[in-house]
């Protein structure tokens, strides 16, 4: 049998990739982020925008529906973390007897925080706007998750994770100022709590960025069962 000449052998080795070359291609493919961001079809984007507009539109009476829910959650947070100490501050939908004249700027979304008794320092009822702080992030989270093109099972899991994260943020937004306002020794807030307050709550964009971030975490932490190999 004729042995293949040296040139043919060289051509054969050029055609077949070596282990090093194959490894190089694999590494290059891993470096590129092919699916780091999910694909959002135009229909999903339109649905998300429509849902967000529908949920965030200033419907008459929507604030009056949300206020009791916020008060129940806020009071549960105060009881659980013990914020406010002996003053036993509580949220209510009405300013109570302490405020005889209607407060300027109070809206359908305003709730009132007042000491309900005890021996702590007493304060006049403090108004709190709940729409941007509480309602908007939850509504956006709902719009983002429901419009995302995945299975309903995954949507529900994502909604659970997203809402849990947003409610944790809301709990911080309630506990920090309540603790500060009704403390027996109202010292200057520590730098850490001040920074957390500023970064998580106080920034105007955060009520809109927080649901996006919570959605991203929920998206990254879940997967479609049908996608399982």
């Amino acid at each position: 049998m004729r042995k293949p000449d040296r040139g043919a052998r060289a051509r054969l080795s050029a055609a077949a990739p070596t282990w090093r070359e194959r490894r190089g291609v694999a590494l290059a493919a891993e470096r590129t982020p092919p699916a780091l961001l999910p694909r959002w079809p135009a229909r999903s984007i339109a649905l998300c925008l429509g849902l967000a507009l529908l949920l965030l539109a200033p419907w008459p009476g929507s604030g009056r529906l949300f206020r009791p829910v916020f008060c129940a959650f806020g009071n549960a947070v105060i009881v659980v973390v013990g914020a406010g100490g002996d003053s036993a501050p509580r949220f209510s939908t009405e300013p109570g007897e302490a405020l005889t004249t209607p407060a300027a700027g109070a809206t359908d979304w305003t709730v009132w925080l007042a000491a309900s008794g005890g021996h702590g320092p007493s304060r006049p009822p403090l108004p709190l706007e709940t729409k941007i702080l509480g309602y908007t992030p939850l509504a956006l989270s709902l719009a983002l998750t429901l419009s995302f093109a995945v299975s309903w099972r995954r949507k529900l899991r994502m909604l659970g994770i997203g809402l849990a994260l947003l409610l944790m943020r809301l709990a911080i937004a309630i506990a920090l100022p309540v603790g500060r306002a009704f403390s027996l020794h109202p010292a200057a807030p520590g730098p850490v709590s001040e920074l957390v307050w500023y970064l998580l709550i106080d920034l105007p964009a955060m009520s809109y960025v927080a649901p996006l971030f919570a959605w991203w975490i929920a998206f990254a932490a879940t997967k479609d069962e049908s996608a399982r190999p």
């Binding site: 290059a28 982020p33 780091l36």
Partner: protein, 184 residues
């Protein structure tokens, strides 16, 4: 779960962690409590004044009575450019997202410059619109200022980031270590 999908999930969570770290650091720097009469505060006042002058120049096209006093616009109505009116929070969060996203540094820098530039132009238009709304529909001012524009700015930043991330992938050159047979 396959190794690929595990890696992808890890990469997504890594992106979230990097976004929080970089965004938190940038926002903390922005909110650093500068001393009341210090150099930082003076620089910040100058910066807000410059923002007001740019917005004032645009408003002047429609309302020649407008004057800029420090960071305040005074004309048929008055508007003060305060901290956060510069949309710096959205700018910094967009920057953090681009830094956290796995892309070459050159494309990151291009994206940050273009994105922050776009958001700044839109923010000047936001201030001009708010000035006009305060004249013609003052009752709608608070709703538009506190609810419509922040959502619109964040949506714009998300859109810009989505387009940039797609571009940063598409424009990537083919890996140099691709074997000859794969290119044929």
């Amino acid at each position: 779960m396959s190794r690929w999908s595990k890696d992808l999930r890890r990469a997504r969570l890594r992106f979230a962690a990097a976004f929080v770290a970089v965004g938190g650091a940038l926002l903390a720097l922005y909110s650093f409590p500068y001393s009341e009469h210090g150099l930082g505060e003076a620089g910040f006042a100058w910066y807000l004044g410059a923002y007001a002058r740019v917005a004032g120049a645009v408003i002047h096209l429609a309302d020649p009575t407008v004057r800029v006093l420090g960071a305040e616009l005074v004309g048929r109505t008055s508007l003060t450019i305060a901290k956060n009116c510069d949309a710096m929070d959205v700018n910094l969060l967009l920057t953090a997202a681009m830094i956290a996203f796995p892309a070459p540094w050159r494309r990151r820098l291009l994206g940050i410059v273009a994105g922050v530039g776009l958001l700044s132009v839109v923010n000047v238009l936001r201030i001009v619109t708010l000035y006009q709304i305060n004249i013609h529909a003052p009752r709608a001012f608070e709703f538009v200022h506190a609810e419509v524009f922040p959502l619109a700015m964040v949506a714009l930043a998300v859109g810009a980031f989505g387009l940039w991330s797609r571009w940063s992938r598409q424009a990537e050159p083919a890996p140099t270590d691709t074997p000859a047979h794969a290119q044929a």
